[in-house]
């Protein structure tokens, strides 16, 4: 018996006993006390009638004195019945109401419901610990792709928003500390459908604990953790955590792509962003020095990349101790003490001739102020703003809109840890090859990026493309597996042939081919496919569906390979093959 029923039974024992007692006494009395029927004979109520009478009296319905008018003795007893049963009912109802409002009872009910929800999941699902800003973004992007998720969060307030949000899938949630193993167990970490655990609570400590627990309770599942400190990260790795996301490093990585080549950044943005959203605009950055406001953890990471690219940089930070430490390291970049929110400091840093400014402090007001002041002085400067809190989203985007000129290239990039982590985690779980692709792309030169982005924009149209990967094996590409087994030669161009129309090609680009751990960037169409190849594609959602025909239906495969339409039904196929054989003999 579950806890809820148990609590109800235990609490309701007294009122139910009281009700039974009162009912039995009053019913017995009604049966014993003699009445008089309409002919004046003495008449005794049957137990059934007495129960009927007491029932409609106790519930205050009162059908009346039936079947015969009561005698005064009966009426006296009826009085006793009225008061005793009504009071007993009132007591019972009061108890129930009290029970319903009891916090512990409500918790038990919620936990019970959560357990049932988890039990009822029959699809693969992901367990998300921490429903802060990052957690929300992760849940959103996973449910958007119709993956099931389960949420564990400490703070009730954050969870309440979950119920109101519009999500594509139902998300069971529980209030609890994710660092406690029994909470994770309750949330189905040992469920056979649990595919992965995503630890994105605000505390590194908790994330570490979640990673350990997951690896101990369910060693096969993948674990992704958010971490902000190096030492915790190492600790996590030592437990075999599969994927660690450090917002500052990720941020810096993206920045390095941007200064390496704006097109490369665009590729990253198009491929990792949520599909079907509007494409971001191309970016243009002037040549010149950079100004870096805020030399904290974030600023440090960015500075490394600026130095690697040999871009002259001016650092602005209000902390004098940082300046001393910086000067001791004999870095040759100038360091100005100040917040950068005022004209004086910015002018001193040379904002007039700077190519870009990075507002990277951990205070959103200061960042916005820095940007506004900088743009006032130099309207052509490229601005990178670090957004710390999701709530300030409106501000940053309204600022973005104000400064946007129609058809001009973007001059402002807003980087939000929440968004970046969510993208990282989504690409890690849903399209793992994308990471490989981006790593390879980073080693290419600017021209390569420009060519690639123009190929992508040709197939994408107005909105961000889908990215998916296929693996040539029996499970996910049965037709190709069969064809290869029979020794037929398959090329990539066959995969991107439209199985519905012999003339046209599918609007997609093969991004990456992985064979025996060797990676090939943008493979050519005429490469032969081999068993266990993994190929990453990028295209619209329809293209993905069409390609599935080729991968799963033999007739479609034959069609795209032979440009002929082999019939599907058995008889027709026999006939067709026979005819082909004849033809071949004839040709020989």
């Amino acid at each position: 018996m579950n806890t809820v029923t148990l609590i109800i039974l235990r609490r309701m024992r007294t009122p139910i006993l009281l009700l039974i007692g009162v009912y039995s006494i009053t019913i017995l009395g009604m049966v014993l006390i003699p009445g008089v029927d309409d002919q004046g004979n003495v008449w005794h109520m049957s137990f059934f009638h007495a129960f009927y009478f007491v029932s409609y009296t106790a519930t205050t319905i009162g059908f009346g004195e039936i079947p015969y008018a009561l005698t005064d003795a009966q009426r006296l007893w009826a009085l006793i019945t009225v008061y005793s049963t009504v009071i007993a009912w009132f007591y019972a109802l009061g108890k129930i109401l009290g029970l319903i409002q009891n916090k512990a009872f409500q918790n038990a009910v919620a936990t019970n419901k959560f357990k049932n929800d988890i039990k009822a999941i029959h699809q693969p699902f992901y367990l998300i610990c921490g429903f802060g800003e990052t957690g929300k973004a992760v849940v959103n992007s996973l449910t958007e792709e119709h993956y099931r998720t389960v949420v564990v969060e400490k703070d009730e307030k954050n969870l309440n928003q979950l119920n109101l949000d519009e999500l594509k899938e139902y998300v069971p949630s529980i209030i609890g500390d994710a660092s406690e193993p029994n909470i994770l167990e309750l949330a189905g970490i040992q469920h056979k459908m649990c595919q992965g655990v995503i630890a994105v609570t605000a505390s590194d400590e908790t994330n570490l604990k979640i990673a350990i627990t997951s690896k101990l309770l369910h060693p096969e599942i993948k674990v992704a953790c958010r971490s902000e400190f190096k030492d915790v990260e190492e600790n996590m790795l030592s437990f075999g955590t599969d994927h660690i996301v450090n917002p500052f490093e990720s941020f810096a990585d993206i920045f390095s792509m941007l200064i390496h080549s704006p097109s490369l950044y665009l590729i990253y943005d198009w491929l990792t962003g949520a599909p079907n959203t509007k494409l971001s605009e191309p970016i243009y950055i002037n040549k010149g020095p950079w100004i870096l406001c805020g030399y904290g953890r974030f600023g440090c990471e960015l500075y490394k990349h600026l130095k690697t690219k040999n871009l002259p940089t001016v650092i602005i930070d209000p902390d004098e101790n940082l300046k001393e430490a910086f000067d001791q390291k004999r870095e040759d970049s100038p360091f100005i003490v100040g917040t950068g929110t005022d004209h004086k400091t910015l002018n001193k840093a040379g904002v007039v001739s700077a190519a870009g400014i990075i507002a990277g402090s951990d205070n959103d007001s200061n960042n916005l102020s820095i940007i506004m002041t900088a743009l006032e002085i130099n309207p052509n400067i490229f601005v990178i703003a670090r957004q710390n809190k999701w709530n300030n989203h409106i501000l940053y985007s309204s600022f973005d809109k104000q400064n946007k000129v129609e058809d001009d290239p973007t001059t402002c990039l807003i980087m939000h840890p929440r968004e970046i982590i969510a993208r990282k985690i989504r690409s890690y779980f849903l399209t793992p090859l994308l990471d490989n692709f981006l790593n390879l792309a980073r080693q290419q030169d600017n021209e390569w990026s420009n060519i690639t982005i123009s190929r992508l924009s040709a197939i994408a149209g107005e909105s961000r493309p889908h990215v998916w990967s296929i693996r040539i094996d029996k499970l996910s590409a049965p037709t190709i597996e069969q064809a290869l087994r029979f020794g037929r030669t398959m090329k990539i161009e066959h995969l991107i042939q439209d199985p519905g129309n012999r003339q046209s090609k599918l609007r997609c680009v093969p991004l990456l081919l992985i064979r025996d751990n060797k990676e090939q960037l943008l493979p050519n169409d005429d490469i032969d496919i081999e068993m266990n190849d993994r190929i990453l594609f990028c295209g619209t959602h329809d293209v993905k569906r069409n390609m599935n025909w080729t991968l799963n239906v033999m007739r479609s495969l034959n069609y795209v390979m032979s440009f002929e339409d082999e019939p599907e039904s058995y008889i027709w196929r026999l006939f067709y093959r026979y005819r082909n054989k004849l033809e071949r003999r004839h040709n020989r």
Binding site: A120, H122, H146, E166
Partner: protein, 127 residues
């Protein structure tokens, strides 16, 4: 499989089929139109309506609207019936019967729309 979806579809389709059962038959012949069936249709339609509460999508709004239409039509039919039998006491004359049946026919149409919408949704959702 989603149990909720099964229950939801079950009641919507049951509403349609029961409605058809009541509607089917000669327009003016009371023998062809069972009052118990009408009762069942009303109850099932009410349940289907309540099940649609709280869905935010455009589709949800339309589904709720069709169900409300069906309920309005059916309740009108039952009111006409009550009026004819209990209040005017003229019994189920051809005119009355035609009204009742045509009202239930309207509800039938609404239920058809409901089910079509449900089918569209199912077709769109499959991946």
């Amino acid at each position: 499989m989603n149990l909720e979806k099964v229950v939801f579809s079950f009641f919507m389709i049951l509403a349609l089929t029961l409605n058809f059962g009541f509607f089917y038959g000669d327009v003016v012949d009371p023998d062809h139109h069972n009052i118990y069936e009408l009762f069942a249709v009303i109850v099932i339609n009410l349940i289907a309506t309540v099940l649609k509460f709280g869905d935010r999508s455009q589709m949800g709004a339309m589904l709720l609207a069709t169900s409300l239409v069906a309920v309005v039509q059916l309740i009108s039919a039952s009111v006409v019936w009550t009026f004819a039998v209990h209040i005017q006491q003229i019994g189920l004359t051809p005119t009355v019967m035609a009204t009742i049946v045509s009202l239930s026919g309207g509800a039938f149409l609404a239920n058809i729309i409901s089910v079509i919408l449900l089918m569209i949704e199912a077709a769109m959702l499959r991946r």
